[in-house]
């Protein structure tokens, strides 16, 4: 991007803005994160990996991985479908649906967890008893945890894909139709490739969010170590049990994975041309 020489803010303003931005990022994000890594590696990398070998911890990591995998997958499918529905189709109640889809971002995850417990618990929930008698336990079990995670991460995919779909316009899709493509062919050959980077970003953000979900999962899972405890919940428990070393190690691992995803995408993504 060429720098404009037309009107520039005076130097003190430019430097002032840079100072404010950098302080903000450093104080709130960079420094605390760096300290987490520093503490995690304080006893050496070996000690960090040893703490992961603890059976309860390794189960927590496995559970987090399992839940995140399914949550991201469900979000991918649902998120894409809803995005296309919102942008390319008109139906009564569309605006209401659009507003409702932002609820997971504004509502506290704790409230989400509680709501799920109310609806699906096996004793007096709306659907819970029926599902449990059919053999499906939602609350205090993995399906509930997946549901909670899906709920909080859903808007992320949609908010990435919808603007790109809107900007794309449906000219290309109409052209494809006029050339003989049916709905599925148009979707596969034209729409999806055109929004592919929005989808990738949506997946990465969902992944990061799912890895880090805490409140909703805590309520829905019952937080039983070795059984229904995820990595984030383990971070809390180990920290409270004075096993800070393990706590930092887990936190550092989670942070590292999320950052690695972002870095990989940033590298893979070709330079945008306006």
């Amino acid at each position: 991007m060429a720098t404009s020489t037309y009107t520039r803010d005076p130097a003190p303003v430019r430097w002032g803005l840079r100072f404010v931005t950098i302080s903000y990022v450093v104080l709130l994000v960079a420094w605390p994160t760096a300290l987490v890594f520093k503490n995690a590696l304080a006893d050496g990398v070996g000690a960090m990996f040893d703490s992961f070998k603890d059976p309860e911890i390794s189960h927590a990591l496995f559970l987090t991985g399992y839940i995140t995998f399914f949550a991201v997958l469900i979000n991918l499918v649902f998120g894409l479908t809803i995005s296309i529905l919102l942008v390319r189709y008109d139906f009564p109640g569309k605006r209401l649906l659009s507003a409702l889809l932002d609820v997971p971002l504004s509502v506290s995850p704790v409230v989400v967890g509680l709501a799920l417990v109310l609806v699906y618990n096996g004793r007096d929930g709306w659907f819970g008893p029926r599902l449990e008698s059919a053999g499906m336990q939602i609350i205090f079990s993995t399906p509930g945890m997946i549901m909670a995670t899906v709920f909080v991460a859903l808007p992320l995919m949609i908010r990435e894909v919808v603007p790109v779909l809107e900007e794309l316009g449906d000219d290309q899709e109409q052209a494809a139709r006029s050339l003989g493509a049916n709905g599925v062919q148009t979707l596969r050959r034209i729409t999806l490739p055109a929004i592919k980077w929005a989808i990738v970003y949506g997946v990465v953000l969902s992944l990061a969010r799912s890895l880090g979900e805490f409140g909703a999962v805590k309520i829905v899972s019952g937080n039983i170590a070795g059984q229904s405890q995820t990595a984030t919940l383990s971070v809390e428990e180990t920290y409270q049990n004075f096993e800070q070393g393990t706590s930092y190690a887990l936190a550092a691992l989670l942070a590292f994975i999320a950052m690695a995803c972002l870095v990989i995408v940033a590298i893979l993504r070709p330079k945008e041309e306006s």
């Binding site: 109409q174 139709r177 006029s178």
Partner: protein, 328 residues
Amino acid sequence: MSINITGVNKKFGDFVALDNISVDLPTGQLTALLGPSGGGKSTLLRIIAGLEDADSGTLTIEGNEAAHLPPQKRNVGFVFQHYAAFKHMTVAKNVAFGLEIRKRSKAETEKRVAELLELVHLSQFSHRLPAQLSGGQRQRMALARALAVEPTVLLLDEPFGALDAKVRKELREWLRRLHDEVHVTTVFVTHDQEEALEVADEIVVINEGRIEQIGTPDQLYDEPASEFVMSFLGPVTKLSGRLVRPHDIDVHTTPEDAQGKHGKIVRLLRVGFEVRLTVELQEADHPDVEVTVTRATQRHLNLEEGLRVWIAHTNGARPVVPIRIVSG
């Protein structure tokens, strides 16, 4: 065989886009749908393509009832004003799209794509992405893409609207030559009357959802059916209660003609080889008359602002006489 449209109506909410439109477009002809923006011509084109549905009326393409067919079954090629290029595919892949959908063999597809790229002079760009082409090149690619599947009908929606003037002129001529070679029934929408007059075999003038007149460029220009058609197809000015063309007015610096009206040049504007005069007549309550003369005439008569002149309608030129509202 042709495109037959009968009694087509289309409303968007309260806005009437098309009001009982009926027209027949013969096979192999290059027809222009001409009219001001918002007049309904794009809507009609899209209804033919299947990208919009008419509220009522019938549409047959080459004898087949088409109103209920989805666009992919109508075998029409469509070219959009803003190209609608498949941005993530190369030029060759864009052109091949329709053929790949129809599951043609790789060899056949490659051959046809090469033929078409040759036709539109884009062979050397076959591996580029649309973003690397100019507007005119993208539109030629879009044309090749539409022609690849050998459509029964080729539809173009203000195809040169997004291009600059010089490129527009070039592509206009090019479309005409292409049609002479390929002979596919073509319908294009434009609001540029010069484009329609230059390119089309027949013009359908559409205004406010209704057909004003159908005819050849000559017919429309020389025998306009209404004031609207006359003023849309070319410049007009009022002289003695009739609508005439500014270039069909003679200017004299002396009172030669008994019919001549006396006036004064209040404005003179030179545009290229044309000189446009605004003449204020001595006669009260007559609007100022626009007169167009050549540069040579202006020099010959030493025309300048403030000069007294006598103007009269040229003998042999035709003013508008409303014959009928819609000719068929």
